[in-house]
């Protein structure tokens, strides 16, 4: 439990750095994969209230694919949502050929 909590902190720190890095690019959105302890309608509406663009809900994986504009305030809003287990940036994937 402690380890998971710590990794969430690390991700948040990393996200904050990325937001600082990309904030000056106009209309830039950061793609995120957010996993939840519990995923239901109220958590989705909580996300929407936090000004997160919810692109796809994956209930089987308890995960949401979302996009945010690089603002620290949105990140602070996300931190307040308790049911979030982990937030990570959707990075590039390479083909192993």
């Amino acid at each position: 439990m402690l380890r998971k909590k710590r990794s969430k902190e690390v991700e948040m720190h990393e996200l904050a750095n990325i937001i600082r890095e990309y904030a000056w690019i106009p209309n830039r959105k950061i793609p995120l994969l957010i996993s939840f302890k519990k995923l239901n309608r109220s958590t989705i509406s909580e996300l929407k209230n936090a000004k997160v663009d919810v692109c796809e809900v994956m209930p089987d994986l308890k995960m949401v694919y979302a996009e945010i504009t690089p603002k620290q305030s949105i990140l602070d809003n996300l931190k307040k949502i308790e049911s979030i287990r982990r937030i990570s940036i959707s990075r590039e994937v390479e083909v192993h050929a």
């Binding site: 994969l33 994986l61 982990r86 590039e92 994937v93 083909v95 192993h96």
Partner: protein, 330 residues
């Protein structure tokens, strides 16, 4: 390990034939979802082997989560051909998330895994996920960081495992970098079968002159990961010479594949393991037993566990192990 011929894929094809003759395993009733660049079923003449993906009331021969299509033979064409050669009656599910040149994004791969999990819960298939791509977690700021198996994509594969899917994942092609490794995600996850690659090098001197030594391919990623488990789990042939298809001694089983060049990468090693897992799965439904059969029957190459894991895949021994265990419990 010393071998007479450098053609390791041919060795595995023969092992699968032996398993077929002795234990009657062909991969029948097993479905493998190939998540990657998508394969051209018509070109490979594998149309009958494709299981359509049901979304709502519609059936799709291919789900394309990636809008770009590479019209040339793709990386998954080779994977599909390898799987079909090892497990000729296993069905294939075609999910395209990436392109050969541009790769993909993590979210698309997670969506594909979600689709497979949903399909498994509703219709009972697929049984195996063949994922031959990955995310490199290191960055210039943290070159030694490797995932501890809790990132989004690793978590998605863990959920897939809990839903009853066996995830076979390539280790990555980063062995040649100054820092050995790292294993890409979802290869770092505890629940996946992470596969590295092996190739051969000729022995020039001594009593074994003229033979070949099996080595872990220089490009294959090494462990460890930041967790208490060892990765990669095993290795399989990653270099696929074109001629291996045409020297196969039983011409009736050769799939009609037009490969234009030699292919190498941990992806192709993954396809061998997926095919072997399909054969073993025909003997048992227990995924842990499937994994154990493949691991415990692997041949030790004498390298570090961080490079070869349990050793090189032996298809025949894996099926034999599963059959013996099944009989023992009956």
């Amino acid at each position: 390990m010393i071998v007479d011929s450098p053609d390791l894929p041919h060795r595995l094809f023969l092992q699968s034939m032996l398993a077929r003759n002795k234990y009657g395993v062909t991969g029948e009733g097993i479905t493998i979802a190939v998540i990657g660049t998508g394969f051209h079923a018509k070109m490979l003449e594998l149309e009958n082997m494709v299981e359509p993906v049901k979304v709502g009331h519609k059936k799709h021969d291919m789900i394309a989560l990636n809008p770009e299509d590479d019209s040339q033979d793709t990386h998954d064409d080779v994977n599909a051909a390898v799987i079909h050669t090892i497990a000729p009656l296993a069905k294939l599910m075609n999910i395209r998330v990436a392109s050969n040149e541009r790769g993909s994004t993590e979210s698309r791969v997670v969506k594909a895994i979600n689709l497979a999990v949903k399909h498994k819960k509703r219709y009972g298939t697929p049984n195996i996920l063949n994922i031959s791509l990955g995310v490199k977690r290191t960055s210039p700021l943290s070159p030694s960081f490797v995932c501890d198996g809790t990132c989004s994509i690793c978590e998605a594969t863990n959920t897939a495992r809990r839903a009853g899917l066996l995830c076979v994942v390539s280790a990555g092609n980063h062995g040649g970098t100054p820092i050995r490794g790292p294993i890409t995600c979802p290869g770092a996850s505890r629940e996946t079968v992470t596969v590295g690659a092996v190739s051969t090098e000729p022995i020039a001197t001594g009593a074994e002159k003229g033979k070949y030594k099996v080595i872990v391919s220089p490009y294959s990623s090494w462990g460890p990961v930041q967790a208490s488990w060892n990765k990669p789990n095993m290795v399989a042939p990653g270099t696929l010479p074109v001629r291996s298809r045409f020297t196969f001694p039983f011409p009736e089983y050769i799939p009609e594949v037009r490969l234009t060049s030699t292919h190498s990468g941990t992806s192709f090693a993954t396809a061998f393991v997926s095919g072997a897992a399909a054969l073993v799965m025909q003997k048992t439904d227990d995924i842990d037993l499937v994994k154990n059969s493949i691991y415990l029957s692997a041949e030790d190459l004498g390298f570090s566990e961080l490079a070869e894991g349990n050793g090189m895949l032996n298809v025949f021994e894996a099926v034999k192990f599963a059959e013996r265990r099944r009989r023992h419990f009956e």
